[in-house]
């Protein structure tokens, strides 16, 4: 289908662009936080299980030491890093919201 000059220019101007580097990682971070939240919600709704969780955590830490401390720490560290980005993203978004309102006063 032949397009006129404006349409050709629009195709060029509206071509796809990549988001900022690391986008996929940031999405993964949010998914990880969501899953962690869901996991915690499952436990926290059963208070008597917190003792079990606490003991299992203890056991889990020991198991991590015995069965590859490095791997466990790597996973935890990556997850923590991604959670930091999620937190800062949310802080930034809400600060921007506040700023937009203050600017309009």
């Amino acid at each position: 289908m032949t397009m006129d000059p404006l349409e050709e220019q629009l195709k060029h101007a509206l071509r796809r662009e990549q988001p900022r580097a690391g986008f996929a990682g940031r999405v993964r971070a949010r998914v990880a936080v969501r899953e962690e939240t869901a996991r915690r919600a499952g436990w926290s709704s059963l208070p008597q299980l917190r003792w079990v969780v606490a003991i299992l955590l203890c056991v889990g830490v020991v198991a991590g030491v015995l069965y590859g401390h490095g791997k466990v720490e790597h996973a935890r560290g990556e997850a923590a890093k991604q959670q930091v980005y999620v937190a800062l993203r949310l802080a930034g978004t809400k600060m921007q919201l506040a700023e937009s309102k203050v600017r309009n006063f």
């Binding site: 919600a41 709704s45 959670q83 930091v84 921007q96």
Partner: protein, 190 residues
Amino acid sequence: MKPIYWVAPVVLAVTLAAHGQQIQIPASWDQLAAKAEEVDNVMLDKNMLGLAAKFMKDDNDQDSVEVNRLLGKLNGIYVRHLEFKNPGEFTQADVEPVRAQLQGPEWTRIVDVKDKNTKENVVIYTRTVNGKSAGLVILAEEPTELTFVHLDGSIDPQDLDRLSGNFGIPKDVHAPKANPDKQKPTGEKP
């Protein structure tokens, strides 16, 4: 006493300590979370922040460098973010217990904006201890979102400026320039 009885209280104490944060989120937020379409729950204490910082060093981009610098100053990051399908899922009764904890002498409300048209309220508090910055709290209410962010530690406006342009953090967010008429907290208990 058998060893297991020592382990359990210690582990419980550690667990509670890990969950302990200066600002307690009301139990009603757990019920709200059950109704929410999206929930973000971040609870990173000093140890976890240290771990995150270690892994951030590997990224070696400017964002990570700045964030790493910030993490060194923080004792914890605590976030609760709920997104609902419909408006009206939470009430002031859910938010008030959080606000009540931010009324003490250490806390100053530096931004307090209420938009009656869009029904959006955002309050930003800073905490000062012995004349030094000790934390930042953002409490944002939108028709379908409720957000609590607590950056616990000596975060100051320069840290935010360094991060501005990233993560959506705008420039000059430290409020004296942004909100000169609303620095003075009103109605706060002494």
